[in-house]
Amino acid sequence: MDISGVDIIRAASLLGAGLAMGFGAIGPGIGEGYAAGRACEAIGRNPKEAGMLTRTMILGQAISESTGIYALVVALLLIFVV
């Protein structure tokens, strides 16, 4: 098995894509879950404000998602563009 420089780069980029999306999914997953949990608690305390609370939850989760999207973009770049 001859390993050329080009091969190493391609292999590294694919492995890196996997690591990027893998690690990148951890943070948003935990954070968005925590946001959802606290939102449920808030709705439990104050069901009348459910609409506002749900909207705030979704807004907060969208912002938390941003780094997950960065990870997805980099992973796709590493797979298809590099």
């Binding site: 098995m1 001859d2 390993i3 091969d7 190493i8 391609r10 292999a11 590294a12 694919l14 492995l15 890196g16 894509a17 996997g18 690591l19 999306m21 893998g22 690690f23 990148g24 999914a25 951890i26 943070g27 948003p28 997953g29 935990i30 954070g31 968005e32 879950g33 925590y34 946001a35 959802a36 949990g37 606290r38 939102a39 449920c40 608690e41 709705i43 439990g44 305390r45 069901p47 459910a50 609370l53 749900t54 939850m57 979704i58 989760q61 998602e65 997950g68 990870a71 997805l72 992973a75 796709l76 797979i79």
Partner: protein, 323 residues
């Protein structure tokens, strides 16, 4: 230094055994300690309930132990059994140990939550002891399912014959399969345990909400289970898709990347969905009218939390099929 294949296989088996029982001990240790902590707290508040609390503590700890026992069994098999002697076997055995180790860690930690909350709840509300223990058993058992997926993948890696396949890249496929199920089980195990803990806290507070709380606990745990199921799916795909021989390391790296992507990608969403379920279930029993609203919000929140697990699965599938 020429390494004979038998030495490689034995070495890989022993390292795999180390990972298996070592990581498995992490989960059971943390979970059982957490349970004992809450048990002693409950006894300090209500010393006359010591008998009930101790009984539940021991049952709950036994459940947390079960994932550790799976890990021990796999480790013993790896140490004591004779396996074939190909380099493919070496990779498969190391992968089996790592898969079971990670797969036992999450459920072990997760089983501590329902058991701890059960001890606390029985201390506060011994009349509801039956419902609390039942829900603890159900919640913990569902928690252990991810450990069972990992054990199935580990046993398949150990006992199925892969030697007819080309080493490069199929060895990387096997190792990636091990990572995928093993690591994704961490998140699901911990998350489902958290949800079960929340459900038990509600039942202890309002014993008449037992039916609804248990039903919603199952729903929350089902969503938290999805990363483990994605992980299992990716593992099975990687184990059973046979790759032709390759002269480059590109496909091997891609398959390893797929394993890391799905494996690591299952951790966060599993924990997050479980946390969402825990808080939602905690507030569930306090008012009958809001339970529908709480369930809906919980499901929306959990679904958004699962989004990165789906990205991770898509990247894994791209790395498996498109490269």
């Amino acid at each position: 230094m020429a390494l004979e294949v038998e030495i490689l296989v034995k070495g890989a088996a022993y390292i795999g055994a180390g990972f298996s029982v070592g990581l498995g001990a992490v989960g059971a240790g943390i979970g059982e300690g957490y349970t004992a902590g809450f048990a002693t707290q409950a006894i300090s508040y209500q010393p006359e309930k010591t008998g009930d609390v101790l009984k539940n503590m021991l049952i709950g700890q036994a459940l947390a132990e079960s994932a550790g026992i799976f890990a021990l069994v796999i480790a013993m098999l790896l140490v004591l059994m004779d396996f074939g002697s190909t380099t493919m076997t070496a990779v498969a055995l190391a992968g089996a140990g790592i898969c079971m180790g990670f797969g036992a860690m999450g459920p072990g930690i997760g089983a501590g939550f329902p058991a701890g909350m059960a001890c606390e709840g029985i201390g506060r509300q011994p009349g509801a002891g039956g419902s609390i223990t039942n829900t603890m058993l159900i919640g913990s058992a569902i928690c252990q399912t991810s450990a069972i997926y990992s054990m199935v993948i580990a046993l398949m890696l150990m006992f199925l014959d892969f030697s007819s396949r080309a080493f490069n890249p199929n060895a990387a496929a096997l190792f990636g399969a091990a990572l995928s199920t093993g690591m994704a089980a961490i998140g699901s195990g911990i998350g489902e345990g958290m949800s079960a803990g929340g459900a038990i806290r509600t039942i202890a507070r309002q014993p008449d909400s037992t039916g609804r709380a248990t039903a919603n606990m199952l729903v929350a745990q089902a969503v938290a289970e999805t990363p483990a199921i994605f992980g299992l799916l990716i593992s099975l795909i990687m184990m059973f898709k046979v790759y032709p021989d390759s002269h480059t390391i590109i496909i091997a790296a891609s398959l390893l990347g797929a394993g890391f992507s799905m494996g690591l990608g299952g951790i966060g969403p599993g924990i997050g969905s479980g946390m969402a379920g825990e808080f939602a279930l905690d507030w569930f029993g306090r008012s009958e009218d809001t339970s529908g609203l709480l369930t809906r919000t919980m499901l929306v929140g959990q679904a958004i939390s699962q989004s990165t697990a789906i990205y991770a699965m898509v990247i894994a599938l791209v790395l498996i099929f498109v490269i």
